[in-house]
């Protein structure tokens, strides 16, 4: 039995073997996030209630800036991929689906750039 509809066959719809790239990126970012987030949460706990200057000095440490940028990229890439799947599952009107996914992607890029810019600004003084 074929699960493809006649219309799908006529239009040539079906697997373009692209889905796996999305799926794989979701898993790879998940794997990367485990050590990055454990490190981040542990650092925040150790610095709870730290002063402005102490926090800035910490962020400006080269190793910390690098880890924070890596974490930012992984978090927003992973979140954006995940939210896309959620929207694809629940939003059934085509234009709303496309628009909401586009908003999610633009927002993720905007937040990621703002975060990285802030880290670099502090790091370079």
């Amino acid at each position: 039995m074929s699960l493809r509809s006649p219309l799908g066959k006529v239009r040539g719809l079906g697997s373009a073997k692209e889905g796996v790239a999305h799926w794989w990126a979701q898993r790879m970012t998940a794997v990367a996030l485990v050590p990055l987030l454990i490190w981040f949460v542990a650092s925040i706990c150790a610095m709870a209630d730290a002063e402005y200057n102490a926090v800035r000095d910490w962020i400006a440490t080269p190793m910390v800036s690098i880890m924070l940028v890596l974490m930012t990229v992984a978090v927003f890439h992973h979140a954006q991929l995940g939210l896309q799947v959620v929207l694809e599952d629940y939003v059934h009107t085509e234009w709303r689906k496309i628009a909401s996914i586009a908003i999610v992607k633009f927002t993720a890029i905007g937040l990621a750039v703002a975060t990285i810019f802030s880290i670099v600004k502090i790091a370079l003084g």
Partner: protein, 131 residues
């Protein structure tokens, strides 16, 4: 259209609620909650880059009751999503699908994520007391 007679799995209204179904939707919910929470993280970093006043304002908000409740929610969401995410990765590797195992790992995820949340907050309060 031929797609009308495709087999359907039992839908949500007639499907008995179980630990596994509950944990599955919680993974999705915590993912969304964490995505929203990134906005707070971004605010914190932008404030640190902007200046002492901005930073202190954000810190004051995070130290308030509402701020602490939000942080408590996000920290639990993070630990749950992280532990259950690892459970997902094991499934993706083709392991842990037996019903028994799925329940054991499920209970493990709930237990460990609660313990990690408590541990993180104890650590944070200890660090504050040490300053």
């Amino acid at each position: 259209m031929a797609s009308n007679n495709r087999p359907l799995s039992p839908h949500i209204q007639i499907y008995k609620p179980q630990l596994t179904t509950f944990m599955s939707i919680t993974h999705r919910a915590t993912g969304i909650v964490l995505a929203v929470g990134t906005v707070m993280l971004v605010c914190w970093l932008i404030a640190a880059a902007t200046g002492e006043n901005a930073f202190n304002n954000v810190q004051t908000f995070l130290g308030s009751i509402i701020g602490k409740l939000l942080l408590l929610g996000w920290s639990y969401a993070l630990f749950y999503h992280m532990c259950n995410g690892l459970r997902h990765l094991f499934w993706d590797a083709g392991r842990g699908f037996e019903i028994e195992t799925a329940y054991t790992t499920g209970r493990l995820v709930i237990g460990v994520s609660i313990l990690l949340t408590i541990g993180a907050w104890l650590w944070g309060y200890n660090a504050m007391a040490a300053i």
